[in-house]
């Protein structure tokens, strides 16, 4: 698509942003995979429409405030990137645009407070644990609360699991086949610390030594996707330092959102002194399922009862990182397990980072749709690769009592003979 976007105000972001605009040919192949387009059925809430709107804002022919609601509506699921035949790197436009927009926009006071609260809480496990702990006491009173506070409370689990103190190093069992470092994630450590424990165990069982650098912080994805680029950059730089100098085969993530965040480091740090280091770092970052399938794992034992499993593609795995085959390959190795794809698997479940906090209505509709499609598979269990999706799926499958777990948790339970 033709554009007249002046490059100067965009600095280092000019190149990736304008490249995304000019490679869009407006063909519309993105429309049916876009969750907001499916729910709202209007062009402004489609990837093609948003690219058009962002282009107009950057060209100066449209007020930012007018475009903002539609840009905000985007879940950032990147299903459009997978669907795009023309190769538009939508995230290269969206992430910097949100950052630029955030600098300029005026938010309402309550909005500001809530935003700040989220940004200052979620990325810090100890703060988040405290907030979630307090939230549990408020949960019975959520009927009295209205708006987004109530929505946030609804997403908290009934009981907060006990925190797990992670070791600095976990030694491989038997011969050491590889050495990796783990990004522990932040919200995940509070909501489901078992995912990290399971990761460590599965890696160790397969001869992998794991380092968990103490200085690591939140990956920054949450900040970047909500336009708080200052925070995202700060986190990214801290992590580059924390993981520097270790001799590693890979940097492992077990939350899809974090994994896609690490892969975006070169974009966030475009034009900064750390850009090159960020590229090497991003190259090393791998989702746990990718690493395991490349390494080759010892066959997990069969479950006690044959199981039907629905595999849910987390957007930030399938679309943002292109990881679709590896988790299925791992699941396919398990005897007595039947794996089902969920209809419309490319469509987001509505979790999308903080989306279910900021746009509860759309998130709810998407969650319900996903739950229906899960039920239609007739599966006994849902397996996925992202804590956000797990929280969302559990909320929407609560009544049916269908368990939801991480791929690595399933492997761990099988290795332990607990399933």
């Amino acid at each position: 698509m033709q554009h007249n976007i002046p490059a100067e105000p965009l600095g280092a972001y000019a190149e990736p942003m304008t490249e995304a605009v000019s490679s869009c040919v407006h063909c519309g192949f993105c429309l049916p995979t876009c969750p907001t387009y499916r729910v709202m059925g209007e062009e402004m809430d489609s990837p093609r429409g948003r690219i058009f709107l962002m282009k107009e804002v950057l060209e100066g022919s449209l007020e930012l405030d007018m475009a903002s609601p539609y840009i905000d509506n985007c879940l950032g699921c990147m299903a459009c990137v997978t669907a795009c035949p023309s190769g538009v790197q939508y995230q290269d436009l969206l992430t910097p645009f949100r950052a630029l927009a955030e600098e300029k926009r005026e938010r309402k006071l309550m909005d500001k407070i809530l935003r700040r609260f989220v940004l200052e809480t979620l990325p810090y496990p100890h703060r988040f644990r405290l907030a979630a702990f307090m939230g549990q006491f408020a949960k019975p009173f959520k009927g009295l609360l209205r708006g987004r506070m109530a929505d946030m409370l609804a997403l908290l689990p009934e009981r907060l699991p006990k925190g797990v103190l992670l070791p600095v190093k976990k030694i491989a069992e038997g011969e050491t086949r590889a050495r990796v470092a783990l990004l522990a994630g932040c919200a995940q450590q509070v909501l489901e610390p078992d995912i990290n424990s399971a990761t460590l165990n599965v890696l160790a069982q397969n001869g992998v030594e794991v380092l968990i650098p103490e200085e690591q912080v939140c990956c920054g994805a949450l900040a970047a996707h909500t336009g708080a680029m200052w925070q995202a950059k700060r986190f990214a730089k801290e992590n580059l330092k924390a993981f520097a100098g270790l001799e590693l085969d890979a940097i492992i993530t077990n939350a899809a959102g974090c994994g896609s965040g690490l892969h975006e480091y070169p974009l966030w740090l475009k034009g900064e002194p750390e850009e090159e280091v960020a590229k090497t770092f991003a190259h090393k970052a791998q989702d746990i399922t990718v690493f395991l399938s490349q390494l080759g794992i010892k066959a997990p034992p069969a479950p006690k009862q044959p199981l039907k499993i629905a595999y849910h593609d987390a957007c930030h795995l399938a679309h943002a990182q292109g990881v679709v085959y590896e988790p299925r390959e791992l699941l396919g190795m398990i005897p007595d397990i039947q794996v089902f794809d969920i209809a419309d698997s490319e469509v987001c479940c509505g979790s999308a980072g903080t989306y279910n906090i900021e746009h509860p209505d759309t998130a709810f509709k998407l969650g319900q749709e996903k739950a229906q499609n899960v039920l239609a598979t007739g599966a006994d269990m849902v397996v996925t690769g992202n804590i956000g999706c797990m929280t969302q799926l559990r909320t929407h499958l609560k009544e049916q009592g269908i368990p939801v777990m991480h791929t690595v948790q399933l492997l761990d339970k099988l290795y332990r003979g607990e399933l």
Binding site: C27, G41, E42, E43, P85
Partner: protein
């Protein structure tokens, strides 16, 4: 007039009447991004009654409108009319009635083409017309443009699969055309509505014919050292008496684009690539296959591959179907052309196009439905270079004239829209054009439905120029 209409529509549609910049801008273009125009408002109806009401109001206030589905038109067919109303039908996306035994589906116009097949697949049925934009484009748009697709060679165009239509005419009257059966009494009004590019009103309900899914597919891919050889092979296959489900050709440039987009694994040295798909009952396909291989081997293909399974077949098709958009990876801008030549003239047409491409100094990628002679030259240009867009348009025009000169047509499936307005009279005589205008005015006296598309609009000048139309003179039909 416009302001009064705007007020009415606002009252009627509230927040579903888009009028501010952010709401309207994204609707200014369709798949033809070289053009854009600003509508008065965009409305998002959710019921048939609302569509009818909008059309009635437009008629009363004499404001033109265009109905729009997914906005994938490559000829500007769904582009807004400056100052007119856009009726966006994306929320009219329900399958109203589905009957596997009767093999029909009654759908709203905003239903996506592929979703009809998705609905029917569990019963072993499918909806045959498969435009490359099938995962996106809507049935309403397919009806308006009588869309084709790779498999039209065997199954025909959209009009062969639309049994009935409920439409709102430009004056707000509602008409039922056709029915649920292929055999109907009287003239084929459904057929007349199909491909009328929105000039006769808006489809409210479309009754589609579903077909049983072919039992077996056999897809082969043949690589040639020259594009013309691939073209000749198509004529040879048809001459041998075979009727494959689809026969498609891609040239090197198109293959490069598809390769970059989906890694289809096409032969790296080929200058011309032919995809042939046999489909039907197992025994029939088994019997046809050796015959096809014989023809292809004799046609000078240097490599022939047969898809071993459904995954390989899908891979071949994915590259072909995404080819248009994939060209976006090779060039920031391009014009997709759509012309038809008789099958036997394919080789000649391709050679001429190559010459024109050299003369104009613009790259042309060729992707086409070779089986029915439907060419899709994609003219690559850089809109940032002064005058290059105009040169591309001129080259496109030369190609269209070439098609007509070879005995073909200026469009196979993308329609005239705004893009080919100038070339329709090159294909048709004045009398032919007059008859079309006559029909248009008979259905839409104010020319409010998609004004200015397909036929030049200034209130049918040819009729005033030539006085009464021949069929009027003969007393067959009258105006007023």
């Amino acid at each position: 007039m416009s302001e009064a209409l705007k007020t009415k529509l606002q009252t009627l549609f509230q927040e579903r009447c888009l009028q501010d910049d952010a709401g309207v801008l994204p609707y200014e273009s369709d798949g033809l991004t070289a053009f854009r125009s600003r509508p008065l408002v965009v409305v998002l109806p959710e019921t048939q009654e609302e569509i009818i009401e909008v059309v009635k109001l437009c008629y009363r206030y004499d404001v033109p409108f265009v109905a729009r589905g997914s906005g994938t038109s490559l000829s500007g067919g769904s582009m807004p009319i400056e100052g007119g109303v856009v009726i966006a039908l994306n929320r009219m996306n329900r399958i109203l009635h589905y009957d596997a035994a009767e093999r029909i589906a009654v759908v709203e116009p905003g239903v996506i083409n592929l979703y009809v097949t998705k609905k029917a697949v569990p019963d072993g049925l499918y909806y045959a017309p498969d435009p490359s934009s099938g995962p996106v484009c809507t049935i309403g748009g397919n009806v308006a443009f009588n869309s084709g697709g790779a498999h039209c060679l065997k199954y025909g165009m959209t009009s062969n699969h639309v049994l009935g239509l409920k439409v709102v005419l430009p004056n707000g009257d509602v008409a039922d055309l056709g029915g649920e059966s292929l055999e109907m009494v009287g003239p084929d009004l459904t057929g007349m509505f199909c491909g009328s590019e929105g000039l006769f009103g808006v489809a409210l309900e479309v009754t589609l014919r579903l077909l049983p899914k072919p039992e077996v597919f056999k897809t082969i891919l043949a690589a040639y050292h020259s594009l013309a050889d691939a073209g000749q092979a198509v004529a040879d296959v048809v001459a041998s008496g075979l009727l494959p489900g689809a026969m498609e050709i891609m040239d090197r440039l198109a293959m490069d684009a598809a390769e970059a987009a989906v890694k289809a694994g096409y032969p790296a040295e080929a200058q011309g690539l032919l995809i042939v798909e046999l489909e039907g009952p197992g025994e029939e396909v088994e019997a046809e296959f050796p015959k096809l291989m014989q023809v292809i081997e004799a046609s000078g293909a240097y490599e022939i591959r047969v898809a071993k399974n459904e995954a390989e077949r899908m891979k071949i098709w994915k590259g072909r179907k995404g080819a248009f958009s994939a060209v976006g990876r090779l060039s920031p801008d391009y014009v997709v052309q759509d012309g038809v030549v008789p099958r036997t003239k394919l080789g000649e047409a391709l050679r001429e196009i190559e010459k024109l491409s050299k003369t104009y100094g613009l790259r042309v990628a060729n992707v086409f439905h070779a089986g029915d002679g439907n060419l899709h030259p994609l003219i690559l240009y850089n809109g940032k270079l002064e005058g290059e867009f105009e040169r591309a348009e001129e080259l496109a025009g030369e190609i269209l004239k070439l098609c007509v000169d070879l005995g073909g047509a200026v469009t196979g499936e993308h329609g005239i829209g705004v893009e080919k307005l100038a070339y329709l009279p090159y294909m048709y005589s004045d009398d032919d054009m007059d008859l079309m205008r006559f029909l248009r005015i008979a259905v839409d006296d104010k020319e409010i439905a998609n004004r200015g598309k397909m036929l030049p609009s200034n209130k049918a000048p040819a009729l005033t120029m030539h006085g009464a139309h021949p069929i009027e003179k003969q007393g067959i039909a009258f105006r007023e």
